[in-house]
């Protein structure tokens, strides 16, 4: 009898701990910025970011990111460049309307974190890892990350030319607790 009480209590504790370990879910704020720079004049922003974020700095193993960037929301500041970038020669927004990142694993690293996941862009899916930081402030916070991708890996544009292979993407994503 006593043994079953102990087992029951242990089960409750395990359930309680696992319930606490569930990551906090966050709502993506409107004032996010996604800047990209491929050298020279080739740079700009993506205006639309959607998706779900579950993250708790204390238990990163439960973190999950599923983010989508709308390709058609690109803005380089120049109309001709925008049209060119959305064309079949580059990002092919008609055929591949979103750039998607789905996380697989998050680990703590120094004062920040490292996320590993699948980046799907231009019909090519590749595993990537990049560091990010999270600044919490009450019920809100800000994720910041710098991602380096190689456009040739995703068959974007022709190799060479004026646009670098290396594309640096800076993300700043303000969030609020759901």
């Amino acid at each position: 009898m006593i043994r079953s009480y102990i087992l029951g209590a242990a089960l409750l504790i395990v359930l309680a701990v696992s319930a606490n370990a569930q990551a906090t879910t966050w709502q993506i704020g409107d004032k996010h910025t996604i800047r990209f720079d491929a050298g020279g004049e080739a740079g700009g922003i993506f205006k639309t970011l959607k998706g779900s974020i579950a993250f708790d700095g204390q238990s990163v193993q439960t973190a999950a990111f599923d983010l989508s960037i709308e390709v058609a929301s690109v803005n380089t500041g120049n109309g001709l460049m925008n049209t060119h970038l959305k064309s079949a020669e580059w990002l092919d927004a008609g055929k591949y309307p979103v750039v998607r990142f789905t996380s697989k694993k998050v680990t703590a690293s120094g004062s920040g974190f490292v996320v590993t996941g699948d980046l799907e862009m231009h019909g090519v899916k590749k595993e990537v890892s990049f560091p990010f930081s999270f600044q919490a402030k009450g019920n809100s916070g800000t994720f910041s990350a710098r991602i380096t991708v190689y456009r040739n890996d995703f068959h974007i544009g022709k190799p060479g030319g004026e646009v670098n292979d290396v594309i640096k993407i800076d993300l700043t994503v303000p969030v609020t607790k759901k």
Binding site: E41, G44, I45, N75, T76, G77, N78, G79, L80, N82
Partner: protein
């Protein structure tokens, strides 16, 4: 009145008229398409660009009158038209601040404005400067 003074008077009046026309066009374009480029295309900028463009034309007109008085007018008209047309590359190549939406609508607004100084100049020219060269006679024969 010397030709230089006449040319400068024409330039200033043409510039102001062109600025007014550009401003009216900008208001119509903005209200009909909902594209607001007020941060990069300001009324002061429109007037300054129009007047400066016409003043440069006046300098060119005066120089041609001194250098080739016989053909100055026809060369000037050709050059002014060609250079005006060439300036439309500017709006297409222009990079706007990234927080401004629909940059593809900018050339549609600015390109017609580039033609207004020449249009104003050619319209007002007979009032300020009479015929200066004998080219009409050349083409008449």
């Amino acid at each position: 009145m010397s030709i230089l003074k006449k040319a400068f008077s024409l330039a200033i009046v043409s510039g102001i008229l062109s600025g007014c026309a550009s401003l009216i066009y900008e208001k119509i374009y903005t209200s009909s398409l909902g594209a607001d480029f007020g941060k990069v295309v300001t009324p002061v900028g429109i007037f300054v660009a129009s007047i400066v463009g016409c003043l440069l034309a006046a300098v060119g007109f005066w120089l041609l009158q001194r250098m080739v008085p016989k053909y100055a007018e026809i060369i000037f008209n050709l050059l002014f038209s060609i250079l005006t047309f060439a300036t439309i590359i500017g709006p297409f190549a222009m990079k706007m601040p990234l927080d401004m939406n629909s940059p593809e609508l900018l050339p549609g607004m600015v390109t017609p404005m580039h033609f207004f100084p020449a249009l104003a100049w050619f319209t007002l020219r007979p009032i300020f400067i009479g015929h200066t060269g004998p080219y009409q006679k050349i083409f008449a024969h």
